[in-house]
């Protein structure tokens, strides 16, 4: 796929552009959080506890009188970090396992694919929770755990691509010219297998953000006072009968962010899929 053609198709795809703009906006919000947030996200004001949305606090305040809007703006940093680091890790592992299995085939392939099957047997949320139970819940542990439990899809994709590319003329020719295994993998095979990986990584960011917020909601993720969308929702649940804004706004933030990555991922898929005509 030529880069320019990809761009041409990508730009004409409304879904993809919407996704890209939304993702870019979320980047700007989290990078510019200190300037955008109207208050210090951890500033406790016991005179202003559980205020509904009003002129001073657009999205209300929480049980400690902290500004919900500011906490949500800063919470986007957590989502972004977890999303990218864990998916980066998962993609690296997936690329490694998938290329080894697809390139060498035989018993290497067999063993690695059985490992993939095995990992897919665990309800991933169970596995993540069990590891969190053993380690301390913290943002770093969450990233690592999500990364280590979500690489299987990428591995399967890369393996399938390698299997279909392995016997193609340009690879056979490169091998005949004496290219080393490493050169074959990194120069000839991997670049040709990257398109589906890109799609799955983009969708993976959405999944990781959902998982992190669920963990933080259960109190097993990012620990207060660090604001994350999930742990603001915990306060929302505890005050569900009196403070709708505590539940409504952070959830909306998660929904929109996750949706933007899904749009972007689907858009990239449509732009790189050779079956869809220009």
């Amino acid at each position: 796929m030529k880069k320019r053609r990809f761009w041409a198709r990508f730009r004409r795809n409304r879904l993809a552009m919407t996704g890209l703009i939304m993702v870019a906006a979320s980047f700007v919000i989290s990078l510019a959080a200190p300037w955008l947030a109207p208050y210090d996200p951890n500033h406790i004001d016991l005179q202003a506890v559980l205020l509904p949305p009003c002129a001073e606090h657009w999205w209300g305040t929480d049980p400690l009188g902290r500004d919900v809007l500011s906490r949500i703006i800063f919470g986007s940093q957590v989502s972004l970090k977890v999303g990218f680091v864990s998916v980066g890790l998962a993609t690296l592992i997936g690329l490694l396992v998938g290329s080894l299995a697809g390139f060498y085939g035989g018993w290497v392939d067999y063993l690695l694919m059985r490992l993939v099957d095995l990992m897919l047997c665990f309800p991933s949320f169970f596995l993540i929770l069990a590891v969190i139970a053993v380690l301390e819940p913290s943002i770093w542990n969450i990233m690592v755990v999500i990364g280590f439990t979500s690489w299987m899809g990428v591995a399967r994709l890369v393996r399938a691509e390698f299997l279909s590319l392995r016997e193609r003329e340009f690879v056979v020719a490169a091998r005949a010219l004496g290219a080393s295994d490493l050169r074959l993998i990194f120069v000839h095979l991997l670049p040709n297998a990257l398109a589906p990986v890109m799609v799955s990584a983009t969708l993976g960011v959405a999944g990781a953000i959902l998982t992190e917020s669920a963990l933080s909601f259960l109190g097993l993720g990012v620990q207060p006072p660090t604001p994350s969308w999930g742990n603001i929702l915990t306060a929302g649940k505890d005050n569900i009968e009196i403070a709708w804004w505590l539940s409504f706004f952070p959830g909306l933030a998660i929904l929109l962010t996750v949706m933007s990555y899904n749009f972007l991922g689907e858009g990239i898929r449509e732009a790189v899929d050779p079956r869809l005509k220009d």
Binding site: A133, L135, A214, I240, S247
Partner: protein
């Protein structure tokens, strides 16, 4: 068919070993030993008692030996005793909650199928119609909606604002004194929201998938033939197309089992439902390692069984699989 079944069952054995191995490794990532976990929390335990506990758990043995001994007990469904004050066997605790989680998940699977299949078929029959577009939007919402947020919104609307439905537990306090009819009503009211929440996530994926396979089937030659024969559109869609499009759904059902089981942690702890998920969440919070390990193994075994059922179901309806 029997040969196929036996082959499938035999393939499960190494997977089971793998599952237990992974669970064992995960728990042993823990700093400190289970004995320290129990004793440092309880200063009354003497050093001698600690040693006895260590021998009981076989902690003085090498790790591989420990795993072997543990595996021998696990095969007999003996996961040891919970660390919680009641010190009950892990399997007893899981067993009494297994039924609730499985029934709720089956119920939500049923809802997923009942809603997603018509949705997918209708939007595939009229691609790019307003109905298809509306479903697509719904699907994107379904994919992005955090289930726990949906749960909170439903609680706020139906539980707090309208005050129509109870939002916690499976039954009301005075349940034992109800008549049978009242009991059924009470139970139904309690599980409505949790089942809706559990079904919602799968709904999006399933209807999208149904639409995709249906679109593919409709393009096949035998559908054109059926239409050319002059069969009514109804017969073509429901008899010729739908039957074939339903085949891969069986596989997707099997694949959705781990998601449902994992999701039960969330909806059961939000709605305070005494199922496996809630038990697991409590075990994680309390660092109750034997219970965590037991749940992990049982959760994976359920997934394995779900996949097995899906494969067997597929083989039953598709002769190419069982003979091929």
């Amino acid at each position: 068919m029997l040969v196929y079944l036996v082959k499938r069952l035999l393939l499960m054995a190494p997977m089971l070993v793998g599952i237990t191995l992974v669970s064992f490794v995960v728990i042993h990532l823990a700093p400190g030993t289970p004995v320290e976990m129990q004793t440092t929390l309880n200063p009354k335990v003497s050093l001698e008692a600690q040693k006895r506990l260590q021998e009981l758990y076989g902690l003085d043995q090498p790790l591989l030996v420990q795993y072997g001994q543990w595996l021998k007990r696990v095969v007999r469904l003996d996961f040891g005793r919970s660390f919680s004050p009641d010190r009950r066997p892990v399997w007893d605790k899981i067993r009494e909650r297994l039924g609730i989680t499985i029934s709720l998940n089956l119920l939500s699977l049923f809802i997923i199928l009942a809603v997603a299949i018509p949705l997918g078929v209708l939007s595939a029959c009229r691609p790019h119609s307003w109905f298809d577009r509306a479903t697509t939007v719904l699907v994107f919402f379904g994919f992005a909606m955090p289930t726990f947020w949906l749960a909170l919104l439903l609680i706020m609307f139906f539980g707090v604002y309208l005050d129509w439905l109870p939002v916690s537990g499976l039954t009301s306090l005075n349940f034992p004194r109800f008549s049978l009819w009242q009991k059924i009503q009470d139970l139904a009211a309690h599980i409505t929201l949790p089942v809706l929440v559990a079904a919602f996530g799968g709904l999006a994926g399933m209807s999208r998938y149904m639409r995709g396979t249906m679109l593919e089937v409709i393009r096949q030659d035998y559908i054109t033939t059926a239409r050319a024969k002059g069969l009514s559109e109804r017969t073509v869609i429901f008899k010729h197309a739908l039957r074939n499009a339903l085949l891969p759904v069986i596989t997707i059902l099997g694949l959705s089992v781990p998601g449902l089981i994992g999701g039960s942690v969330i909806f059961e702890s939000i709605f305070a439902i005494p199922g496996m998920g809630q038990l697991f969440f409590g075990a994680v919070m309390a660092r109750d390692y034997p219970l965590v390990m037991g749940e992990l193994v049982i959760g994976a075994v359920l997934t394995l069984l779900g996949n097995l059922l899906a494969d067997v179901g597929y083989a039953l309806v598709d002769p190419r699989i069982r003979t091929g």
